[in-house]
Symmetry: C2
Subunit: 257 residues, 2 copies
């Protein structure tokens, strides 16, 4: 089991492996060649950053059977996705900022995220594991009232691309048996989502393969696997936690202004 994190310790920004309360620092590149620097930091002295800096944040829609059934939609024959702005990235503990000029509802969507480890184009599902670096949690934050504001064009990208609307972390777990894990979302400590990852329409290997025929994926790219039942809105000042057993817990607070 390896848990890769990016961190800030004092003025020092780096990355490394989280193990037994320590952050063992590495140098080089997380995806193409990392070696131990020999330095260690107490985890308690580190501020964790988003564990990767994706060029693409792919977000799936309608990828869970339970949600499809609730929406009365057929399970899709091919992954349905949009792209979120890379500049919407936030890390563990970061404040989710209410967009300037938007006073509507802001929804949480707790999801599993796949982190890509290598340049990936037109690969098979059998080969896909070689391109999956690991897994983390994502809160795919959405300004819900923007999505259907225009009758001719659903504004998926706009409603999900505001700064801090892609909270990712706390680290990347390289060994996850996703089919045994649930995604649990808690709002101000109250459980709001608790759904099994075994219910995915397109599981990670198949998903990465299919997407790789649609666009070239690159190291550090994040695929948000879609959410299931229990999505809701967050009041200003609320705290939201996304926890996946086998990974960890991602916690963020909505700005209170």
């Amino acid at each position: 089991v390896s848990r890769w994190a990016r961190f800030l310790a004092g003025d020092r920004q780096g990355f490394g492996v989280v193990r037994q309360g320590l952050l063992e620092e590495y140098e080089g590149d997380m995806f193409t060649g990392a070696r131990p620097s020999g330095r260690q930091h107490a985890l308690g002295n580190c501020r964790l950053l988003s564990p990767c800096r994706p060029r693409h944040i792919v977000a799936l829609w309608n990828n869970f059977h339970a949600l499809a059934a609730k929406l009365g939609k057929a399970a899709p024959a091919h992954p349905l996705f949009l792209l979120k702005a890379a500049s919407s990235l936030a890390g563990p503990g970061d404040v989710i900022k209410r967009p300037g000029g938007y006073s509507g509802k802001i929804a949480f969507e707790g999801e599993l995220a796949i982190v890509i480890g290598g340049r990936c184009a037109e690969v098979s599902a059998d080969d896909a594991p070689r391109y999956i670096f690991g897994y983390t949690c994502i809160n795919d934050v959405t300004a819900g009232e923007i999505l259907n504001e225009n009758p001719d064009f659903p504004q998926w990208t706009r409603s999900k691309s505001f700064p801090t609307f892609s909270c990712v972390g706390p680290w990347i777990e390289t060994d996850l048996e996703f089919s045994r894990s649930n995604v649990v979302t808690r709002l101000d400590g109250v459980e709001r989502q608790n759904y099994p990852l075994s219910d995915m329409v397109f599981a990670p290997n198949e998903l990465v393969s299919r997407l790789s025929w649609d666009m070239e994926l690159q190291p550090g790219d994040v695929i948000a696997c879609g959410t299931s039942l229990g999505v809701g809105s967050m009041k200003d000042g609320a705290t939201v936690e996304i926890e996946i057993d086998g990974i960890g817990c991602l916690k963020n607070t909505v700005s209170s202004h």
Copy 2:
């Protein structure tokens, strides 16, 4: 008038200003601080690359009054946009590749592209010119039969994000009076689009301002301003040119396999 290009001259990759048949090489960063390197290359000895490497490729839908009228749609009250994968970027002369496994129609969409020069969030239309580095041509290539394949979710991003589906170039023109220019698209030498940029619903300053409230734009980002009448499909082996007076001509060929 300055025309910024990225180029390959022999094994040397660089960037600089195109002037009177020469490429005057610069060093540093095109957006944050470039200075002449003292080297010059004959333009004829250079292969031009995409003039920037955007982190975000924003693509507008329904941004011309003439197209809105033809589609029977109202002009939007706010820019309607999607994101194309950054990995879909191609440069002048690059081959547009037919996606593996897709045998349907591939459409050209000739458009004006805005290139962002600085980090840009929540700016006014009056301030927007400070964040616009310049203008170039884009062919917003689209696998048309994918867009409406699923009845529940229009696949804008998927149909436009295949590798080489965002052809950008030939260079970035920093001084353009867009309202006097037309976008002309020629397919195998035959004019297929010829529409005035003065017909835009959201012109560049207003567009950059509005988008900057939706997502943070970054140096090198490209905004494809949307197309107008005359879009059509390209046969394998076809040559397509997008020409905007005051900028130049972007030419690409569709792969013939």
